[in-house]
């Protein structure tokens, strides 16, 4: 914990050389993607300009699932190791927070895209439905994290929940796929399946993935450092609290001790 504190600015910010580099890179790539997506790439033959949502929707979906994997892996490490696990737990929490954000964006952009293409805001296709369930699972995860005050306890409890989520998501996905296959819709509803991608579009998509991943990394690093500062403050506070607690001892009247010595 002290290392994390030492690494940050003297002005107690959470930025470092690493985050600045990533931040700049993210900005540059995202700017390029924005320009390319809106101006340079062609519209789709079938969907028209609404295909441009793809350049946001696909990368955010990718990042959302990446965040989920990161949370799961760091939670697993946090549980497997007995000591010094709080760093991993902080990353798990930060990743989940950012992941929820990106998941919400995925759902919103997906919904808008669907609205523009087919006229409905929602379709019960496997990918969208599974993402929705994952989103709710993570909201629950964050709710539990927010209530625990002790970092150790929070790390343990949320690690278990994250690992359970890893188990659940394949089950959810499989069930939903099986479920929707009853309605024979599987192939019809692939938003990006129908789009033909030329080289520039592919590159923009790829750049979008890279750019959004950089944004994710930047956010997680800052959020994780913020949590570390918070926990470190808790520790500093703890030493002071311990000293104050011990001071209570000297204020105990000595008459109490004396009374039991006699007959």
């Amino acid at each position: 914990m002290t290392t994390a504190v030492a690494e940050t600015d003297a002005a107690a910010g959470t930025g470092t050389a690493a985050t600045r580099v990533i931040g700049v890179a993210a900005l540059v790539v995202v700017a390029f993607v924005a320009v390319s997506a809106l101006l340079l790439t062609p519209a789709d033959a079938v969907q028209g300009d609404s295909v441009r949502i793809m350049y946001v929707h696909v990368p955010t979906a990718w990042v959302a699932y990446l965040a989920f994997v990161v949370t799961a892996v760091t939670s697993g490490i946090s549980v497997a190791r007995r000591h010094r696990t709080l760093g991993f737990d902080r990353v798990a929490g930060a990743s989940a927070e950012v992941g929820v954000l990106f998941m919400a964006m995925t759902l919103v952009t997906g919904s808008l895209w669907g609205r523009l293409t087919w006229g409905t805001f929602w379709q019960w296709d496997p990918r969208l439905t599974t993402t929705l369930f994952l989103f709710v699972t993570y909201v629950g995860y964050l709710a539990v994290r927010n209530i625990d005050t002790d970092p150790q306890r929070r790390a343990r409890r949320s690690a278990v929940l994250a690992l359970l989520a890893v188990l659940e998501i394949p089950l959810v996905h499989f069930s939903v796929v099986l479920w929707r296959s009853l309605h024979q819709e599987a192939s019809v509803l692939n938003l990006d399946g129908d789009v033909r991608l030329d080289d520039l579009m592919l590159f923009t998509l790829f750049a979008g993935v890279v750019g959004f991943t950089l944004v994710y990394a930047w956010l997680v690093m800052h959020r994780q450092r913020l949590a570390a500062l918070g926990d470190a403050q808790g520790t500093v506070g703890l030493d002071a609290a311990i000293a104050a607690r011990r001071a209570e001892a000297s204020s105990v009247p000595t008459g109490v001790a004396a009374r039991t010595k006699g007959a």
Partner: protein
């Protein structure tokens, strides 16, 4: 194993004494069935939806059963005595799961009868086997999910609103599978019995996953409390 049975027996004895299942949860579950009928206001629609509604009502009722299961432990800090006496925490989990399973199975039977009576659902012949198997595996999975997430929030503030938030996404696929299997048992047009058994297989997978995950995670979850 003996300890798990002791815990299960204790939970069921408490339930038998207080008759909460009989007097409060079962009427609530049946009331939910009635309210669905009132809200949907269409007999053909209700009949088609019967299977799903049964399991939806089961989902809500299972929350009550689980909350009660942990309330008896936290009321007088009995959980502390339990933890210091029972050796492996996994055994405590299995015991509570077993007790919850028995109660949920009874509820499931009640709700199916309710669907037959109130909604006009019908089951006959070989489909009864499918129905019973569905009820058993789904109740087992539901008990696993409930007992596990119940443990996660047992000592937290706001646990009563946290439990649904955590358990529902996990239970959603179970709801899907149980509803489809029961639809097959009720003889719907879109799902035949073969497909029904596929769904039952999925339910069995859920049950196995959550029972084992629960036994493994219970110790950590309960240890997380002070």
């Amino acid at each position: 194993m003996r300890q798990a049975l002791a815990v299960a027996r204790k939970d069921l004895l408490i339930e038998w004494r207080s008759r909460l299942l009989l007097v409060r949860v079962a009427p609530f579950a049946l009331l939910v069935l009635v309210l669905f009928a009132v809200a949907l206001d269409s007999e053909p629609l209700i009949l088609r939806a019967a299977a799903g509604l049964v399991w939806l009502a089961m989902l809500f009722a299972s929350l009550l059963v689980v909350q009660r299961s942990y309330a008896v432990e936290t009321d007088d800090a009995a959980i502390d005595v339990l933890l210091t006496g029972a050796g492996e925490p996994g055994r405590v989990f299995l015991g509570k799961l077993l007790a919850a399973f028995v109660q949920l199975l009874v509820l499931a039977a009640l709700l199916v009868v309710g669907a037959v009576v109130l909604y006009g659902a019908a089951v006959s012949g070989s489909r009864v086997v499918l129905l019973v198997t569905t009820m058993v595996t789904a109740s087992l999975g539901l008990s696993g999910i409930g007992t596990l997430y119940g443990a996660a929030v047992a000592n937290m503030t706001g646990k009563d609103s946290l439990l649904p938030l955590l358990a529902m996404p996990a239970a959603a696929p179970l709801l899907i599978a149980a509803s489809r299997a029961t639809e097959a048992a009720f003889g719907s047009q879109t799902i035949d019995t073969t497909a029904g058994w596929t769904w039952v297989a999925l339910l069995a997978v859920f049950a196995v996953v959550f029972v084992s995950a629960g036994a493994a995670a219970f110790g950590t979850l309960v240890e997380a409390d002070s």
